[in-house]
Symmetry: C2
Subunit: 353 residues, 2 copies
């Protein structure tokens, strides 16, 4: 079993949570679910699903330079957590912490990003809190209901099951690559980073999937976390040109970046990664016959708790995500060193160029 | 009618909210309620009440120097909003934004403040989010249910009704006075600032009160906001030594600070201010016969939309809170000028020394 607290972020969460008592009606344990799940006495059919998410370091480290992106992602980040449990959103509340130096054009653009994201999803901001602070952060809290009988958590996958992703991946790390390597913005403009939370997708897959987690931290980080929770592993053997978005593929080719770098980075795209027992696969895919965004096959669940990646040349390589997940701490937040060591690390995987 | 947007903070909120569509099942309009109220189809007896609150500027401006206070207040601030609608809490989620320079002793103290506050109220943290950020902030989101038939909002008071506060006031501004005037900490130690959200109180008063709002921003700011919402005014004619906590009284005497300064400042104490129709007063007070924390009579509702204060000498003076509520903006955040102009402003009220 790979220890959860080998990952510095998980250990940090644990060190906070050990101070707190657990709610007697909470369904999920720590780390086990993208949204917190609560039994409520007045609704025996559903759980209440609640989640909170802050957008801050993406602004501080220069990843988001367009205020519209900040607003957009604040909405998508927390609603995506609802999607990953199969919930039906009820609404959102919002806390805005903004520096007093910011002008109205800037805050208006954040607000438009929020409003457009809500409209895209058909959800509403109910209210919030505004603060003038030394550094910018936006916190969204989204809540909804999820049928008890079909709720998804991060736990439950079994060997041999199919591994899917709810849409093409890589746009988050594509933006990250352009920013961290100081590449020309036109190679992957920030306006292309408009990920949409897969709420409807989550609702469709919920009765069929054995576990689910969103890719807010990138595809391979998501799989690594699922490995630590399930003591199972994953074989990624899907076609790279189906897994990656075409725009991300183009960027990889132009910059000679291996495609798996776009799954390995920590900046995700709010897709759902989920596993489906073999006897559920046909019924599940039938549900997507008339929809545009079909699940993409990533691979299979394996007994060995490790990520195994099939290279374009057909080699199978086991990879370890722990050094990458802890890399920002290892380099003390130095982003220049981060990107250099990141690329070295994945080249050592031996998957090819 | 006093315009809502005369107050800079209200105008700032409005300028954000104009971008957003309103939820068709939301019960309250903007500014009308401490917590957002939502009809949920699965529960025709209750509304879902949700609120979000960030503790940030109290840390940035040096008001809170003990990390335990930060944690404690984060819990109390958002649960107090639930109390003000008469809700029964279901739980809380939490987003922690902390500077990487902070050591474990500091973050442990925040966590203990959170844990102790939760235990005091009998509520639970369900989960959250942790971020390393350039400046510290803690955001709590609390949610609960409130019976539709007894829900309280900030709207509904009528002339002649009684005005109550759920407990003694002033500890928030007492701490503020000590910090802003750089007085010796022993005059009002930060450890005395441990306000408790009046959740049970809110549940008891809900069937009797005509409107309610918590004093998170101080008593007179609360009344000013109620005036703008209800187009009614308030006469404060209660005994000062019943309204103020004895510790706050002591501080006033030692520092020659007029008692109404402890109601006029912007740093509150999470009491509930509420109005009760005359024919409900006896039934309400009967409910408190066996409890320790009884409501304290502050005064009455008057037709004229202004705060009228009875001085210790018996004079009745109308006061205007708008200049005080906008003062931090008027002095561009300069805290030294803030405290000087604040004291000048209230001395012009002519209530005495």
């Amino acid at each position: 079993m790979k220890p959860m607290n080998e990952i510095i972020e998980n250990a940090m969460i644990s060190s906070w949570v050990r101070h707190f008592l657990r709610h007697p009606s909470q369904v999920n344990q720590l780390h086990e679910s993208d949204a917190e799940l609560l039994e409520i006495p007045t609704d025996p059919q559903n759980y209440l699903a609640v989640t909170i998410d802050t957008v801050a370091d993406e602004v501080a480290n220069g990843l988001y330079q367009d205020p519209y992106t900040i607003g957009w992602v604040t909405v998508m980040a927390c609603t995506s957590d609802l999607a990953a449990v199969g919930a039906y959103p009820l609404g959102m509340v919002l806390s805005v912490c903004v520096e007093s130096k910011r002008d109205k054009a800037f805050t208006d653009a954040i607000a438009r990003g929020i409003a457009d994201a809500c409209q895209r999803l058909g959800i509403f901001i109910l209210g919030g809190d505004i603060n003038l602070t030394p550094s910018l952060s936006l916190t969204g809290c989204a809540f909804g209901t999820v049928p008890r009988k079909s709720v998804m958590t991060r736990c439950g996958c079994q060997e041999g099951e199919y591994l899917f992703i709810s849409g093409e991946a890589g746009i988050g790390n594509a933006l990250g690559l352009v920013r961290l390597k100081n590449l020309p913005g036109e190679l992957f403009p920030e306006t292309l980073y408009r990920p949409t939370a897969h709420i409807h997708h989550g609702q469709i897959i919920a009765p069929f999937a054995s576990c689910c987690m969103d890719t807010s931290d990138g595809v391979l980080t998501t799989l690594d976390q699922l490995i630590r929770l399930n003591n199972k592993g994953f074989i990624i053997a899907g076609d790279w040109d189906q897994i990656l978005s075409p725009l991300v593929w183009q960027l990889c080719k132009k910059t000679k970046t291996p495609p798996w770098a776009m799954l390995a980075g920590p900046h995700g795209e709010f897709r759902l990664i989920f596993t489906v027992p073999t006897n559920n696969v046909d019924s599940l895919l039938a549900r997507f016959q008339t929809t545009k965004n079909k699940p993409i096959l990533l691979g299979r669940v394996q007994e060995k708790p490790v990520i195994t990646i099939k290279s374009p040349a057909g080699d199978m390589k086991d990879i370890d995500m722990a050094p990458l997940r802890n890399l920002l701490d290892s380099v003390n937040g130095n982003l220049q060193r981060y990107v250099e060591e990141f690329m070295e690390c994945i080249s050592r995987w031996g998957l090819g160029e």
